[in-house]
Amino acid sequence: MNVYPPTLARLGYILEAKREVQLLRKLESNFFTVIDFKEYFPSRLPFISSPFLFIGLYFFVKEREKWKKYFYAFLVSIVILTVLGPHAKYGPILLYPFFGFFIFLGLKRIIKGVRK
């Protein structure tokens, strides 16, 4: 905060020290960690599964009306992890069932495409 010149001390206080801003920064950090691919590949999921996951995710969003409940549950999981933080022992464990589902969906789509 003391990096700011005296005329901008108030701005420095708001941006660097104000509690509410610190809280928002924490939430921002959590959110970007949750949605970061590098958080999952390769430490939690093998690289090989990434194309299936991305394809599955694409169709999941595209057909969100079909998967309405799961879609909202997925969004709520991201919000929960943003609030609680993704750094627990098992990391963003709430999202794992969704990842499994996306990989399944991606595989299914690819197999369907190959058969055609």
């Binding site: 970007f32 949605i35 970061d36 691919f37 590098k38």
Partner: protein
């Protein structure tokens, strides 16, 4: 009437961007990076003597501190140096003006692509492009990479235009070819992009009516590449290519991750980073994800196909170049990225009432400018001062004020520091060329390893030789780690003074040897 509004809107954006690119341009970045110093010094050397710092006459690639860079930016700078002086500010200004051109080019490309439902979205996207940290940061650099990106972007505009009027392929090839003489990144990117583009849109270009245009483009490309082709078999041409490896492919995820783009810049070089800010504003992460989704949905449309190709081709080649993330190498990616973000913004704006839209927009612009001001104009000059070689100008003044003393400057942690002293001390290029070992001039394109000791005027720049140097009557200047307390005692050195950075940390200490001991 409509055209007047378009011109007015674009002028407002250009004025705001111009202010951000030129405000305190000589002071922020707070220091002079070695790449800037070497470009400024070599441009002046060309102007004064027709030779570069090594005494080589009008090189086709410049040997800059052991590496090689395309020459056009230096030659353009050399001409401008005649009018504006051999200062880094001259080169930073060239870049800033170039980026203003790229903002116009971005707007024209976005308009031509016509991907958005609302006219409003073109303005907003261009505005966020022009004030994005990635663009503002690179608009204020005095070396060639940003200018290469500018010329490349103009080429990309013509490339898109070629989908409608294939003749534009020739102009695009010309711009890509020019860009290859400005920045090393564009030398690789241009040909890869052109070949992939023609293959991707083969139904347009590889048909009887248009094959002639492709042929003319190839001829234009080959003719304009003659200077490069004459040195293609030298090590100088391929100097940076030995780092290429397929193993780096997975760093692609890092480049595309929202965390990298909107929250935390993982660039390994501190010099390329802004405190508390990544390359884009954090709130654009949502439109980015929405935009990517819409982009992938409409890939059958050739405009979206072009956008995806633009994104993929500007990000994939740099990925193979290094295991580390470099936001500078992937700078051309900012154009497709921002157009994609615009897709997301457009989808969001369509769904909200106009009045809310304007209120949200004013809030987001205010927030962006506040964060940019705080991070780039307040924190960056202080927290990144050392990465930008802050303090070397002060040492140079100290040396200049004592012309009868001998100075040894320890460059252990900054082996390219010699160029900063050549630049700050305004060493006459002719005088320096004469003193230099002619082996570098005679084997100019052979990529010889860089010298480890430099001597000019009353200055030597090298590592300290603890056997010999304490026996000489000299001043030793080094950073905080250069001389330990035990070495001070052992050799009887006397600390004369020290220099501090803006955070009041000691950056350099000056010692006098006790040679009579």
């Amino acid at each position: 009437m409509k055209k007047i509004w378009w011109a007015f809107g674009l002028t407002v954006i250009i004025l705001l961007a111009g202010f951000l690119y030129f405000y305190k341009l000589g002071e922020i970045p707070n220091g002079v990076y070695v790449d800037e110093a070497t470009i400024a010094y070599n441009a002046n050397s060309i102007l004064q003597t027709g030779k570069d710092e090594y005494g080589f006459v009008y090189p086709l690639v410049f040997r800059l501190m052991g590496s090689y860079s395309p020459p056009l930016f230096i030659y353009i700078g050399s001409y401008l140096t005649k009018f504006f002086g051999p200062w880094v500010l001259t080169f930073r200004s060239v870049t800033a003006i170039g980026v203003l051109v790229s903002v116009i080019c971005f707007f024209l490309l976005a308009r031509k692509m016509a991907l958005y439902k609302l006219n409003f979205s073109y303005w907003v996207t261009t505005l966020f492009f022009s004030i994005s940290p990635w663009i503002v940061f690179n608009a204020r650099l005095g070396y060639e990479t940003t200018f290469g990106f500018v010329v490349f972007s103009i080429g990309a505009y013509f490339l898109f235009a070629a989908l409608e009027k294939p003749k534009n392929l020739i102009t695009a090839t010309l711009f890509f070819s020019i860009a290859s003489y400005i920045s090393y990144n564009q030398r690789l990117l241009g040909p890869i992009f052109l070949v992939a583009y023609v293959i991707l849109f083969r139904k347009i270009f590889l048909i009887k009516e248009n094959i002639k245009i492709v042929f003319i483009s190839v001829v234009v490309g080959l003719i304009t590449q003659i200077p490069n082709l004459t040195i293609i078999n030298t090590q100088a041409f391929w100097t940076k290519s030995n780092q290429f490896s397929i193993n780096y492919f997975w760093t692609l995820l890092t480049y595309l991750s929202p965390k990298t783009l909107f929250y935390e810049n993982p660039d390994i070089d501190l010099q390329h980073t802004i405190p508390k800010l990544s390359v884009m504003y954090n709130f654009l992460a949502i439109p980015y994800m929405v935009g990517v989704y819409h982009l992938t949905r409409k890939l059958k449309d050739q405009r979206y196909k072009f956008l995806l190709a633009y994104g993929a081709l500007t990000v994939i080649p740099p990925v193979f170049g290094s295991p580390f993330v470099s936001t500078q190498r992937t700078l051309p990616f900012v154009v497709p990225l921002m157009i994609t973000v615009g897709l997301g913004l457009d989808e969001i704006f369509v769904r909200i009432r106009p009045i809310i839209r304007y209120i949200v927009l004013v809030g987001l612009i205010g927030y962006s400018l506040l964060i940019l001001y705080s991070s780039y104009f307040v924190l960056f000059p202080k927290e990144r001062a050392n990465a930008w070689n802050y303090g070397y100008d002060q040492i140079a003044s100290y040396v200049k004020d004592r012309p009868n003393q001998k100075f040894l400057i320890d460059d252990t942690r900054n082996p390219r520091a010699y160029i900063l002293f050549l630049y700050f001390l305004k060493v006459d290029p002719g005088e320096y060329q004469e003193k230099l070992n002619p082996v570098y001039r005679d084997n100019y394109y052979k990529a010889l390893s860089m010298a480890d000791s430099f001597s000019f005027r009353n200055v030597e720049v090298r590592q300290i030789d603890w056997r010999e140097d304490p026996k000489r009557d000299i001043f030793i200047i080094g950073d905080d780690l250069a001389v330990s307390d035990s070495q001070i005692k052992e050799h009887g050195l006397t600390q004369i003074t020290e220099f501090k950075d803006p955070l009041m940390n000691t950056i350099f200490k000056v010692y006098k040897t006790n040679f009579r001991r």
